[in-house]
């Protein structure tokens, strides 16, 4: 297959889509599917068929449109209408509206900040293309970057583009992607691997799932580009078994890509070969840590090991291994297609590009958003998120899951990037953003995350295995109102110990939720201890 053929297929598909007067796009990502959008899709198709409109009206399933709280969503193109909360029985009225004009009952205004303030790079195709239809991806320029790279660029050129774009690891730590690629590329071993980390373990985060469900080919293209750049011929996607829909779409996408010749042997007629296999995670949070993830792919328990050697030198089966997050890899095709300069113009001085966040919790618009780095938390919560429901007062935003911290109201105007969040004692994390209001007790929140880390600790190193249990016990005593006056001092000491002496990222960051809530909401801890009072009314005191 040559680039011209690819462009021909893409053009043919574009033309086929133009033929339709109306295109009804139903979200079939997991959020809307759990509101029965699959039944809706079927009833819309039946309705269109019954009216004999198949030639003029296309009905297709597309990926996530973002506003999950208003699902199931249906967009009508090219008119640009968006319908919210559509039920299967609304299908006749919806199809009728194509002739009569938009239905006011279900219309969702697209000029609201939720849509206007976003900048979509990773999610550019989400909600626009059918994730199970390869031609749809080709029609929006898919796999062009891979063809161009393979035929016109050297691996070093590809790495140079990625380095210059300023892309940093979207899994949370923010390590420069170009640097990581360079290290693996420099390794001299004959056998190398690329691993896509799709073990999205943070509770409250669903960015990777959405990308995999909405635009799986994008991740495959990113992996193939990474493989070409570092000299690997085998890739693995380590995906959570809890995401059956993402797994199904990935399997379909891999099969389609192999048939097209953009995966497999001699890609695009060059000497480069690249294969991708899936490996299913089995529900262990620690497997998001790279050395634990490698152990899991090798068929063992997911226990981390000390680094160095880093996976870039000795990883999967002792071979140099590149591990990148889903979102990182999904950014790569766009960077190569539009250029490093275009990408690095977005964002702040040290954090380039866009970041996808899963906005959830006590906020009006919950769902998936993509914003340029550097947007303030206030804009995210109050403009995109539409503020706090029921007129409640904002209290904090939790980022980074169990490894992160809570950002209180006084820092709402802080720009969201790697450095600013770290300065406030939180982390960017993979992109979970949970908004809390006055009904949440911050001590209970800390206890919730500690309980999580305690059960997820793999048990290999003592500080994490034992320390998390003791911290959880202390927090239990505080929330039960039975803590002594010295409890906080002991807790702080233990936080410091676990943070400094644990083997892997899980233990090193496990105390973060406690440290950050202690820092910003110390009075809540004190009122629990001294007055046996929980202002939010969450904790039930024993006394």
């Amino acid at each position: 297959m040559l680039l011209d053929e690819l462009k021909e297929t893409a053009a043919a598909e574009q033309e086929a889509q133009q033929q339709y007067q109306h295109r009804l796009q139903v979200c079939v990502a997991a959020g809307c599917v759990s509101c029965q959008s699959d039944a809706l899709l079927a009833s819309l198709q039946a309705e269109v068929k019954q009216r004999g409109l198949q030639q003029t009206c296309q009905v297709k399933g597309v990926g996530c449109m973002g506003l999950c709280s208003a699902g199931p969503l249906v967009s009508v193109e090219p008119a640009g209408w968006l319908y919210r909360g559509v039920q299967p029985e609304d299908a006749p009225a919806l199809v009728q509206s194509l002739a009569d004009g938009p239905m006011t009952r279900l219309i969702c205004p697209t000029n609201q900040p939720f849509f206007q303030r976003q900048l979509k790079v990773v999610l550019e195709n989400s909600g626009r293309i059918d994730p199970e239809h390869l031609e749809d991806y080709l029609a929006v320029g898919g796999y062009e970057a891979l063809f161009t790279a393979l035929t016109e660029m050297t691996p070093a050129n590809v790495i140079e583009q990625v380095s210059r774009s300023g892309l940093r690891g979207r899994g949370g730590a923010g390590y420069p992607t170009g640097l990581k690629w360079t290290t693996v590329a420099k390794a001299t071993a004959g056998n190398k691997f690329v691993i896509c980390n799709a073990d999205e373990g943070d509770p409250g985060a669903f960015m990777d799932r959405s990308v995999l469900e909405s635009d799986p080919h994008r991740v495959l293209e990113g992996m193939a580009l990474a493989g070409y750049a570092v000299g690997a011929s085998q890739g693995y996607i380590y995906v959570r078994a809890e995401y059956p829909l993402a797994i199904k779409r990935l399997r379909t996408a891999i099969r389609q890509a192999e048939r097209l010749g953009v995966l497999g042997n001699n890609l695009c007629g060059t000497r480069f070969s690249f294969h991708i296999d899936l490996r299913l995670g089995a529900g262990a949070f620690v497997c998001g840590e790279e050395t634990a993830l490698i152990a899991s792919i090798e068929g063992k328990r997911g226990s981390p090991r000390p680094r160095p050697p880093y996976p870039a030198e000795s990883g999967l089966w002792e071979a140099p291994t590149l591990i990148n997050n889903v979102e990182t890899l999904a950014s790569v095709p766009a960077i190569l297609r539009k250029g490093a300069d275009w990408y690095s113009a977005i964002g702040t001085a040290k954090s380039k590009g866009t970041k996808v966040f899963a906005l959830a919790g006590r906020v009006n618009n919950t769902g998936l958003i993509e914003i340029p780095m550097g947007m303030t938390l206030r804009e995210i919560v109050y403009e995109i998120g539409g503020g706090i429901p029921e007129g409640k007062r904002f209290k904090a935003v939790q980022t980074g899951g169990p490894s992160g911290g809570c950002v209180p109201a006084q820092y709402l105007d802080m720009p969201v990037d790697y450095e600013s969040l770290a300065q406030l004692g939180s982390i960017m994390g993979s992109g979970g953003m949970i908004v809390m209001d006055e009904t949440s007790c911050m001590v209970d929140v800390a206890k919730y995350f500690m309980e999580f880390c305690m059960t997820e600790s793999c048990g290999k190193c003592v500080p994490c295995r034992v320390g998390t249990v003791h911290m959880h016990n202390m927090l239990n005593r505080i929330t039960a109102g039975t803590a002594g006056d010295d409890e906080l001092a002991l807790l702080e000491e233990l936080c410091d110990l676990v943070k400094s002496t644990s083997l892997c990222g899980l233990g090193q960051t496990a105390p973060n939720p406690v440290i950050s809530t202690l820092h910003y909401f110390r009075d809540e801890y004190l009122s629990h201890i001294h007055d046996q009072a929980c202002a939010a009314g969450v904790c039930r005191m024993k006394t």
């Binding site: 759990s34 089995a282 529900g283 328990r301 959830a360 899951g401």
Partner: protein
């Protein structure tokens, strides 16, 4: 440790063993495929029992200790059979903030089970998930494989009742 050569026969002539054997064959009966094999075993039988683990250990030439270690390390694998109906309550952060603990308490009190347990009559298993990834619809739960969002304790009880009635 003794060596076995040739084909190792499955514990019974249940047809579902063919699925498990096919999964092992697909990976060349390599010990690296342990987790993949356990996935296919659980998918075929619903849970992992000791006899099955012994069979896998022998087929892949992995010590039973390692097979047992891996099966108990990962939350996704279960060594106990599930009830006729399952209810998985999400305990992710968004669901926690929006009241998942109340749902769990209601279910626990109504059916006298703790998370991870099955009712004495084998009708209902109550499970929890770390995060279903349906945070936009928090609080969420899965009733017999169907995800439902924006739940209240009363609604959750109602849904379980309907699941049970439907099957009866």
């Amino acid at each position: 440790m003794y060596l076995e050569f040739g084909k190792i026969s499955p514990p019974s002539d249940d047809k579902r063993w063919r699925i498990v054997e096919a999964a092992m064959r697909r990976h060349g009966n390599n010990r690296r495929a342990l987790i993949e094999t356990l996935h296919s075993l659980q998918e075929a039988f619903g849970y992992l029992d000791e006899e099955a683990l012994q069979f896998i250990a022998r087929s892949l030439r992995v010590p039973m200790s390692q097979v047992y270690g891996v099966s108990t390390f990962y939350h996704f694998f279960t060594l106990k059979p599930q009830g006729r109906h399952t209810c998985v309550v999400c305990t992710g952060t968004a669901c926690y903030i929006k009241g998942a603990p109340h749902i769990l308490t209601a279910l626990e009190q109504n059916y006298h089970v703790k998370p991870g347990e099955t009712t004495a009559d084998g009708e209902l298993s109550l499970l929890t998930a770390r995060c279903l990834g349906s945070c936009g619809l928090a609080p969420a739960a899965v009733f017999d494989g169907t995800v439902a969002g924006k739940l209240t304790p009363a609604e959750s009880l109602d849904r379980i009742r309907r699941c049970m009635d439907h099957a009866a």
